[in-house]
């Protein structure tokens, strides 16, 4: 294939570096420096896709981020597919594989196109709201067909082989856009010594200068750009980010920059390189120098391939050495687009005519046109285009002075390219992200950034000055302003001389009328990607969708991946005209991040897979792994769940662990329990306020269980707190609740009771905690300590300091199993050592490690609750039958006391926690089963509470359960029925939750 549209010379491409690429299975050639779009145009590829709704052939319209049509599928392998890549922003690389995202069997011959032609008239905006309703059952069927047409590109079906970086940045000045304004701003701030970040979405700096033949200081502009860039690159605190789009402008000058590191090299990043980087920037000041987008005019069949934006045509010629056609017609409302005709002519191709909508254009450009012998058709517009897969001709008609109507006969000219300019829209998107509303400017005929609370400046075209001289001056000024605000020097940089010409007034015109009414005229597209037409917008207005937000939502205007960069303003203008209002009266245009789409992977960074969330380990974790533990996620902790032996089912493992513990001795790694060290003379008083029970008399050396409630009286945590010294306690919390309880204590201390002399410190990770439990636990402990751990000297709910396996330890004689238990705490650096010593000595006692599941069973046999499983934020201590843990006598009204006294908390028939014995002892009720008193009741059945904990108890030889039952504590012996999903109804009897050793003798021996 030859590059038939490629010029022999000129442009910023490297003709000595040819690159081959694939489009829809065919091989093509381009050059280094090309975008995929410029390479396609060079090869004369006209149709690059089909439109979403009508399946019309579409071609390339623009040369940058505003391109609505050239949205391609990229990627050579399944894993490296990238959907919806904008060809105008994708740099060409060797071996690039691309395809159109729709069209069947091919974009050139698309069967859906017939549907579009035939059905098009039946598919006005919102047609789907008006049909597919009957019969009711059919919608899902209709929808299946609608969904077939959904989507542009395809997601990969394999996992992403690439990695992504995320970096936090801080700077004094973030300059967005490296055109003349941005470069001048960055240079000024840089010379002042500011920390500067300069980001631009393109592969090289220069912005608008890259696409023109304009000179600076009499030389090609690129020279000045190179000099400035080089100076900036030499500054220590200046960061230059090409290929980096500032996508989001968030509160307090926090901005995100999406940098493509390798997308210009291959579809898979070279080894060791991150494919993309997301910069999270906190900027003291932001200078927006984002430029402007040229607006195409709206006219009949303006979507036929060959219809382009004037400045884009110039860019392809000047930057890429590509002339996208042979015979050009220019239609413009302003002087600017004349240059496109000149560029085209200088490229050696034919300019058929310049159609100027102004009645009497004057000045240098007009003179130049006639000097060049270019036919100038004044006061006219292109009302229709001939051709389907490529423009073959245009229909031109004279317009009324205000451009609102055709008032002359139609002449046809043959041409294959139409370049239009309806003026320029400042790129204000980022300025609006933090809630600032854009304001309409008549002179600019566009929206400008509105007032903002952010430390933000604007310079250049975004501020409505479309001249290079203006951009340079405003950029430098913005740089100085930022420096002044930062208290730095405000250097004056020498600005290059430009070659400005006087621009004559442009005409404000968006929509070229047709001889027919818009509704009957050929389709005049406003938003190409969503097939939104002028007729559609007028229809929406006729139907009462008058707010621009309604128009957009009803027609889908601006909802494409280009977010209406080309079409929004024209759409508003058409809606305004249709409703007899001004553009500002129809509303404003609101922008949200992202400016251009951002890869999920870049937003995720390395917080995925292994690093998605921390895994927290205890000091004994390695041992658990080596001994075959399966793990349970408890908060971020990895806790042993149970320790299966070869060939065991889970139940067999649990039975073994439970029996071994009750018959001899088991061991649990309890290190994950939250531990908070509390010191100060008021520690005791503080405990009395945050726990429901009494602490005044707890003696040094003693431990006590406590319930913690919210101010609403509902239980939210529990644990044992021990008195280490008169003014010294250690509190334990649930594993999941540690951080919350710690913050809770600090909250009350700092905001409510600062007068109390107490300090809290979290020591959860400091102590390794291992609980040996069972009749032989004392014998085992005695083998590792010289201390007297007899019942006489070391009673239940005492703690003692002693050496265990040579390691200083605090041993707590507390029990969550109801067995004789010792909770050994040593500094975690020695935890595994002690743990292993226990196993050395424990072999003869069949010391058995157990995990959370066996812990649950053993505590349930004793009726001990687990906060978060047996409670859910809606039960108070009395509901749990734990009134014994509430001291109403305490002088201070502890947290929760008032809450649990509210009307609804003291009413009868609240759900209360009880034990449940199934009539058939072999049946284990599923946790979460819902109980009823009347199993025959019709649906909806009155439910009386659910099963919170339920297990097979190997020790008892029958199932055990705990659950909430309405009025349960007064219903001992009564039956509750549990209708299960499989149709069974399980009968159970309400009983005490203490199934084993009700007198609590075993733990006291």
């Amino acid at each position: 294939m030859t590059q038939k549209n490629r010029l022999q010379t000129g442009g910023r491409i490297n003709r000595s570096k040819p690159l081959s690429f694939v489009y829809n299975g065919k091989q093509f050639k381009g050059f280094e420096g090309d975008t995929l779009a410029s390479a396609m145009l060079a090869n004369g590829i006209d149709v690059i896709g089909r439109s979403f709704k009508y399946s019309r052939p579409r071609g390339i319209v623009a040369a940058g981020a505003e391109e609505p049509n050239a949205v391609m599928q990229l990627g050579a392998t399944e894993a490296t597919q990238v959907p919806n890549v904008r060809a105008t922003q994708q740099e060409l690389f060797e071996g690039l594989v691309s395809g159109a995202t729709n069209g069947w069997p091919s974009v050139d011959n698309d069967l859906m196109g017939i549907v579009g032609k035939v059905g098009g008239k039946m598919m006005p905006p919102g047609f789907y709201y008006k049909t597919f309703m009957y019969p009711q059952s059919m919608w899902e069927t209709y929808e299946k067909f609608i969904r077939k047409a959904a989507g542009l590109g395809s997601s990969p079906l394999e996992n992403d082989p690439d990695s992504y970086e995320k970096i936090n940045q801080h700077c004094d000045v973030l300059v967005v856009g490296a055109g003349p304004a941005g470069l001048a701003a960055a240079l000024t701030a840089g010379r002042a010594g500011a920390r500067v970040i300069l980001a631009d979405e393109q592969s090289e700096f220069g912005g608008s200068l890259l696409g023109t033949r304009e000179t600076l200081n009499g030389e090609e502009a690129a020279r000045w750009v190179a000099d400035v860039t080089a100076e900036l690159a030499g500054m220590k605190d200046v960061m230059l980010l090409p290929r980096s789009t500032v996508n989001g402008y968030h509160d307090h000058n926090f901005l995100t920059i999406h940098q493509r590191n390798t997308d210009h090299i291959a579809d898979k990043a070279p080894a060791g390189q991150a494919r993309q980087t997301l910069h999270r920037v906190r900027a003291k000041w932001v200078v927006l120098a984002t430029g402007a987008h040229e607006r195409p005019l709206v006219y009949g069949n303006n979507d036929v391939p060959g219809c382009m934006i004037a400045s884009a045509v110039s860019t392809y010629i000047n930057r890429y050495g590509v002339v996208p056609g042979n015979e050009l017609v220019v239609m413009t409302t302003n002087d600017g687009a004349y240059q496109t005709a000149f560029d085209w002519q200088d490229a050696g191709r034919k300019v058929v005519a310049i159609v100027d909508t102004r009645q009497n254009p004057q000045g240098a450009q007009v003179a130049e046109a006639s000097k060049r012998g270019i036919q100038l058709i004044k006061g006219s517009g292109i009302i229709d285009v001939a051709g389907s897969k490529r423009v073959t001709g245009v229909s031109i008609a004279a317009l009324s002075a205000d451009g609102s109507a055709v008032n002359g006969s139609v002449t046809k000219l043959s041409a294959d390219t139409v370049a239009t300019s309806g003026g320029w829209s400042p790129v204000i998107h980022l300025a609006g992200h933090t809630g600032s509303r854009p304001v309409w400017d008549e002179k600019v005929a566009g929206f400008l950034p509105g007032p903002t609370v952010e430390k933000r400046l604007i310079a250049g075209a975004i501020a409505g000055d479309f001249t290079t001289a203006g951009a340079l001056a405003q950029g430098a000024e913005a740089g100085r302003k930022a420096c002044a605000e930062l208290g730095m020097d405000q250097p004056i940089i020498e600005l290059p001389t430009t070659q400005e010409r006087v621009e004559h007034p442009a005409m404000t015109l968006f929509h070229i009328p047709h001889v027919k009414k818009t509704s009957e005229a050929p389709k005049q597209f406003v938003d190409y990607q969503n097939d939104v037409t002028a007729a559609g917008i007028e229809l929406a207005c006729r139907e009462g969708f008058e707010s621009i937000e309604h128009v957009k939502r009803y027609t889908a205007l601006g909802f494409g991946t280009d977010q209406g960069k080309l079409g929004n303003i024209a759409g508003m203008a058409i809606a305004a005209k249709a409703t007899g209002r001004t553009i500002p009266e129809t509303g404003t245009t609101i922008f949200r991040p992202n400016y251009t789409p951002v890869t999920f992977g870049a937003l995720v960074g390395r917080d995925r897979g292994e690093l998605f969330d921390p895994k927290r380990y205890t000091a004994m974790h390695k041992w658990h792994v080596e001994n075959g533990a399966l793990f349970e996620d408890v908060g971020q902790w990895k806790r042993p769940w149970y320790f299966p032996k070869a060939g065991e089912t889970m139940q067999q493992s649990l039975d073994r662990e439970c029996k071994a513990t009750r018959e001899s001795v088991g061991i649990l790694d309890a290190s994950t329990l939250g531990k908070i060290d509390i010191q100060g003379k008021d520690a005791r008083e503080f405990l009395g306020r945050v726990y429901t029970n009494a602490w005044a008399k707890l003696a040094v050396g003693k431990c006590r269980y406590g319930l913690m409630c919210g101010e609403d009286g509902m239980v939210f945590d529990d644990g044992v707190t021990s008195c280490l010294g008169e003014n010294h306690f250690i509190m334990t919390t649930t594993s999941g609740g540690a951080a919350r309880v710690y913050e809770w204590l600090e909250l009350y201390h700092q905001t409510e009771w600062p007068e109390l002399e107490v300090y809290f410190n979290t020591v959860t990770d400091h102590w390794s905690t291992m609980t040996i439990s069972g009749p032989n636990s004392r014998k085992l402990l005695e083998e590792l300590t010289d201390a007297d751990v007899s019942n006489e000297n070391f009673g239940y709910m005492d703690w003692r300091e002693m050496k265990v396996a040579g390691v200083p330890a605090r041993v707590f004689r507390i029990s969550f199993t109801g067995e004789l238990s010792f909770e050994i705490n040593v500094q975690a650096n020695f935890g595994l050592h002690v743990w292993e010593k226990l196993f050395e000595k424990g072999a003869k006692y069949n010391l058995t490690p157990y995990g959370t599941e066996t812990m649950h069973i053993l505590r349930a046999e004793k009726g001990f609750i687990i906060a978060g499983q047996d409670t859910d934020g809606s039960v108070h201590p009395y509901d749990l039958g734990m009134g014994w843990a509430v001291s109403q006598q305490k002088p201070f009204s502890f947290i929760g006391k008032r809450g649990m006294a509210r009307e609804d908390c003291v009413r009868d028939n609240r759900k209360q926690l009880v034990g449940l014995k199934t009539t058939d002892p072999s049946v284990v009720l599923p946790e979460g089963a819902q109980g009823v008193f009347d199993p025959k009741a019709p649906i909806p059945m009155p439910m009386v509470g659910h099963i919170t904990s339920s297990y097979w108890s190997a020790n008892l030889g029958h199932s055990i359960a705990m659950g909430l039952v309405k009025g349960g504590l007064d219903r001992m012996g009564e039956k509750v029925y549990y209708p299960l999903a499989d149709g069974r109804v399980v009968e159970a009897e309400i009983c005490s939750p203490i199934f084993l050793d009700p007198k609590g003798e075993r733990q006291n021996v």
Binding site: N168, H170, T618, Y759, V763, D765, H766, P808
Partner: protein, 215 residues
Amino acid sequence: MSDTKNVAIMNQVPDAAAGVRAESPLHHADLGTVAQKGLKSGGVHFREMGLLGHLTLRCDPKNADLIAAAAGVLGVELPLKPLTSVESGSTIVRWISPDEWLITVPNDQSFDLESRFRAEMSGHYSLVNGSGGMTLFKLSGDRVVDMLKKATPVDLHDSEFPVGKVVSTVFAKSGAIIRRTGATEFELVVRRSFADYLWLWIQSASQEFGLVVEA
């Protein structure tokens, strides 16, 4: 005068004679072997300074007696200026909050230091030994700042983060107490249970610069 009857303190470090094996939070990562097998040069250097004594002191900075007493015990003034630290020999004192300081010493000195506090400092304060719950990472190298920027949102530019500055902040999805000890040298105090996660994270984030593990 002595405070020991009101608070329980205990020498938590076994006698050398007991032959107890001590394991730092990254013990399982076997950094010794990693160091031998791994890169010898790179942009980021990593070393775990495990088994230090970590003591947290909390008291009212406006109480001159307490501040003086603490200075007496430590041999240096407590840093009262936010986000600063002081060093004296092997003792480092970090400002954590207006009424909180983190003191690190060799672990075998922690009980002695604790005892001296209890003996010489009275009044309302707390002193807690957290040695088992923390470890210290030394991170250095030409690219260390570039690596740290990936993990923490604080500004590490030398104009904002001079040597000696210490901040408690988020680090990846955990937290760390970061202190600058040199132009290209930082130390992180992190929690034991998160140490493995942070170690994995630092390895991943350092890969592009080349990670040199020291042990």
